[in-house]
């Protein structure tokens, strides 16, 4: 397989395991590229990419932008602050206006689930979902799995724990789909108020006790508490959350299991993870960030192959 089975990256759900494998193999190549003295390739010199961020983002936006520039694509940045969406323009009109400037690919972050899928039906462009509400964040899941693969090799049979706010997390959902497609086993842990009632219907087990969960896993992915997406108070205080679900050095030292620690960032130090743990040898948080660029280069490179220049806007 040397081409993706999809025309857009809307979510992990639509990918085949072979697609994920192809993205990983392509990312291996780009990871080597970004560690060369000249960290750039001319692959996408004739491609223009618009990064549309209708929700705040720092690291994902920077990571995409860097990936695009490393591939020599022309890059257009657009964020909600400058947007005409606030003036009442529809999403389709906003995007079509940008596409009229001859843009080939759109990377979009949007606060609403399904926004990327909706856009892919309505506009003539390749779409990369950079996070849509609590639905999916496929490149984050790909880079997480890729980072786990670097440490543990094949993902099949690996035990991965996701800790935190599962209800509001697109990272959790995409990670679950990605890990399952690659044969890993997934458990989630967090306050019962932040675990969806039907989570087990998508093949995930729930372990409410953090210690037991950590004793079980090969990898623990500590999610950030998404206060901005919670419409009511799901737990009494951050302090109390930290007491029950925070990963501290003391807890880490008391568990006889050498698991790897991931965090999608940004970290709330002292809430879901303490500084000593985040900066410890077990943590591969900064490797995730580096791999993020390689994974996004791979995704954009593979999707660029799907652009039909004759019909492109």
């Amino acid at each position: 397989m040397d081409s993706l089975s999809v025309d857009h990256l809307l979510g992990i759900k639509q990918l085949q395991p072979e697609d994920i494998d192809l993205i990983f193999r392509t990312a291996d190549h780009f990871k080597e590229v970004i560690n060369r003295p000249i960290r750039k390739v001319p692959s996408l010199r004739d491609i223009t990419i618009a990064n549309l961020f209708f929700e705040n983002s720092t690291r994902t936006k920077l990571s995409f932008e860097l990936a695009e520039k490393r591939l020599s694509a022309d890059v257009l940045n657009f964020s909600a602050g400058q947007s005409s969406l606030k003036k009442g323009e529809t999403l389709i009109d906003t995007v079509n206006n940008i596409l009229a400037m001859k843009v080939d690919m759109v990377v979009m972050r949007h606060p609403m689930p399904g926004a990327a899928m909706f856009l892919s039906r309505e506009v003539n462009s390749r779409i990369v979902n950079a996070g849509d509400g609590a639905h999916e964040h496929p490149t984050q899941a790909l880079l997480d799995s890729y980072s786990i693969r670097e440490v543990h090799g094949d993902l099949a049979g690996k035990k991965v724990l996701i800790v935190g706010d599962i209800t509001h997390s697109r990272v959790a959902l995409s990670n679950i789909f990605c890990l399952q497609k690659m044969g890993a086993e997934v458990k989630v842990c967090g306050p019962p108020t932040l675990i969806p009632k039907y989570i087990e219907s998508i093949g995930v087990k729930v372990e409410p006790n953090l210690r037991k969960a950590l004793e079980w896993c090969d990898v623990a992915n500590m999610l950030r508490i998404q206060l901005e997406r919670q419409r009511i108070q799901y737990f009494p205080s951050l302090r109390e959350y930290s007491l029950q679900y925070g990963l501290t050095k003391q807890l880490l030292d008391s568990i006889d299991n050498e698991f790897t620690i991931l965090h999608p960032g940004p970290i709330n130090r002292g809430v879901e993870i303490t500084t000593e743990v985040a900066d410890s040898e077990r943590s591969i948080i900064l490797d995730q960030v580096e791999n993020g660029v390689a994974i996004r280069m791979a995704v954009i490179y593979l999707l660029a192959d799907k652009i039909d220049k004759r019909n492109s806007s």
Binding site: A115, F118, G133, H135, K197, I202, R231
Partner: protein, 414 residues
Amino acid sequence: MIHIQRAKVLCPESRFHNKVCDFIVDHGKVVRISEKPIPTGKGTVIHSKDLHLSIGWFDLGTQIGDPGFEHKEDFESGLAAAAKGGFTGVAPMPNTFPFRDNKSAIKYAIDAGANHIVQVYPIGGLSKKGEGLELAELYDMTEAGASAFSDGLNDIHNPELQKLALLYSDNLRPPLLCHPIDHQLAAEGMMHEGPTSTSLGLRGIPAIAEELRVVRDLKLIEYTESGMHFFCISTKEALKRILEANSDELSSSVAISNLVWNDERLHDFDSSFKVEPPLRSESDRKFLLKALKNGNIQVLCSNHRPHEIEAKRCEFENAEFGMASIEVFLPLLMQAFKAEDLSEIISSFTSNPRKLLKLEIPLLEEDLEANLCLFDPSLPADLNFKSKAVNYPKLNEPKGKILGVIQGRKNNFA
């Protein structure tokens, strides 16, 4: 003169039920019904390979946005759509702007249908402005011709007001229609809570939000010794509670969409299927389907909720709830049921809603005014819609064509 040839009669109240008959309609009256073919004479002849005849259909709780939301549907387009869908009577919900909560608004709606083939029996608002705070002038609206009282798809959150509404309306002719939903449990929900909502990252509307409101209302009904119609039930557990209460003063309805699809239909975020009540689980769908067939649900409604393109062609969360359905009611019926089931369920959209609203039920007898629907369930559906709505569901080779309706001297045969 209209000569209807070899039509299978679907009218459980008639001695011709399930028989194949010829009908002659002249000057607005059925002048002859014959089980034997009548020789073709003058006038319009109506025949079709699988012709069916029933009394004109009746839609409970149609949304017609007149006044206030005429860009979605006004009476002219809404009633034309209803007639095209096989209906000769509609009871529109009061969710207009301003809210239909007074006698002049009731009269406006009645007048809009006065010379139309489709008669309008407006539902009056239960609370002032539909805010759920104070009772509207129910007696005055009864005198003006209100057919029922409801706050539409809003619910009466305050149990004290619901108690007062049950007590106060008990002496009045129009029944109380309530769509049971606990809005706090359902808050910001986009679809049924279940495996599909979980995998889509969409906030769910739990089934318990409906059941909980039914349980509360059943206790209030028991306390006030009154009755109620539960409008558009969507879950198995809520219906079970209503059936357990075993009271003649209780009845319920279901929306056709809840019998055709389940929540998995939303897998691709298609906003056409974002409806209220939401498409529920397959187990709910099957239970409701069976309940309609065996009479445990008395009324089937289109739950027609028309929208303009901007209301639906947007992000799923921004899309408005509702599906335009009144003109595809028969094609949807034919998706949910087999043709032979029609004789069992026909009352649920002909005589039962009229009984509920204490309206006169048209009879199939000679020398009485004609109020008829003629349809062929096996013909391809006619998708040239009269409604202003753009949110009709996309159907794959839909079957079921309405040939026309007759009400007195009016008909809409092409």
